[in-house]
Amino acid sequence: MNFWKYSSPQTFYPLAGKMIPVFAVLAFIFGIGGLYVGFFVAPTDFQQGESYRIIFIHVPAAWMSMFTYLVMAFWAGIGLIFNTRLSSMMARALAPTGALMTFLALWTGALWGKPTWGTWWVWDARLTSELILLFLYIGYMSLAAAIDDVRRADKASAVLALVGVVNVPIIYYSVKWWNTLHQGASVSLTRAPSMAESMLLGMLLMALAFWMYTIAVSLMRVRAIIMERERASAWVQELP
């Protein structure tokens, strides 16, 4: 089987159509399993009580937000270097989900912070760099949306995504050092020192569910983008 044949939008479109239900079902199964473990199996935290259970949404969302940016920049870079149309479409399709995950991580973090630290927001290194990551996603999407010519929009946003990737570690460490310089230990961010195994299991299941969800939704979005861009081509006209 020639794997590369799926790099054209025409052949990828039906493949994505077949893959979406698989990933959607997997996301559902992992999600149900993760929520069950999270709500009924994992023990109540002795310090934070029940409120810690938001970790099962918060941590997977934070992981996905960072990972999705890397994947997005990867596809954008491939699209820029090899001039492959589908890679650029994939990068564009991933961005909204990545931004959503970043927003979810920030939002659930605020909801978690209120009962445990007593404040919605602290200028902690991780929170601050997550916020800047959200700005990077928004910048990427705005640039792509502002340029009318599709090819140019793809390339310009790809350059921005790559510049962002180089900067993300710099931003992260600068915020981290800034934080240690400015802020005393007024708010301790250390979690429960050892995590119960069922908690870890629930978190991993939820992380898998988020992965599957991201893949399924991005594939749906990339199908929509393919449709939109290739609407004049013969194979789209022949679709039932």
Partner: protein, 226 residues
């Protein structure tokens, strides 16, 4: 061969410097913007000397950030409209070197005045002498990084509607490290601590930006001219 690149780059710098001296109003706009933004803060937060001294480094730095952002609009836009940028791309010389020359001229025209003005504005906030010196140094090392990073955003938004606001959105998150270490150096000096570490990190950023940013700017200019 290498002489050709240097000759072309220095010609670009000389031309842009000449243009800047002929359009002094553009340069002065940036400088006055910087001064006005800084002067607004005491009016907003009150004239308590202790508060002013503690927010001073951050205020001057944020204002420098915004002023250098404001100046970015003129970096490529004029040359893009009259076709000069296209000629630079077609000249056959390394585009990365030519845009670096342009950014250098742009910094001398818009960044250097900020450096010269910053100790005066720091004085308004009651910063001590040592901190004023560190402020000048940190702005001198930091603003070229801002110009280089900003040039990427300016090149990416060439000919795009609403380019100014979009450039701000693209570039400001990337400015964060410069702001942190620039303002951090001044705060450290104001509190009587060593500022050398912060300044070294700013210097490292400057070298990294000089080495890497021109390639991204050149790629962005090429995309913009397609």
């Amino acid at each position: 061969m290498s002489g050709g690149v240097w000759q072309a780059a220095s010609a670009v710098t000389a031309r842009d410097m000449l243009l800047a001296t002929r359009r002094r109003a553009d340069v002065l706009t940036t400088v006055f913007f910087f001064a006005i933004v800084v002067s607004l803060f005491p009016l907003g937060v009150g004239a308590e000397p202790a508060i002013l001294r503690s927010i001073g480094p951050g205020v001057v730095w944020v204002a420098a950030l915004l002023a250098s952002l404001l100046a970015l609009g003129r970096l490529f836009a004029g040359d893009f409209e009259d076709g000069t940028l296209e000629q630079l791309v077609l000249s056959g010389e390394s585009l990365a070197m030519l845009v670096l020359a342009k950014v250098a001229a742009h910094w001398v025209a818009t960044g250097l005045p900020l450096v010269l003005l910053s100790p005066l504005l720091g004085l308004q906030f009651g910063l001590p002498g040592e901190a004023l010196w560190v402020l000048t140094c940190s702005v001198a090392i930091g603003t070229p990084v801002l110009s280089l990073l900003g040039a990427i955003g300016a090149a990416l938004t060439l000919g795009v509607r609403g380019a100014g606001a979009l450039t701000a959105l693209l570039v400001l998150p990337l400015y964060v490290p410069v702001l942190i270490f620039g303002a951090g150096a001044v705060s450290a000096a104001a509190e009587g601590m060593q500022a050398g570490g912060h300044l070294s990190l700013l210097g490292a950023m400057l070298f990294a930006a000089v080495a890497l940013a021109p390639w991204a700017i050149a790629a962005a200019v090429r995309i913009g001219l397609e």
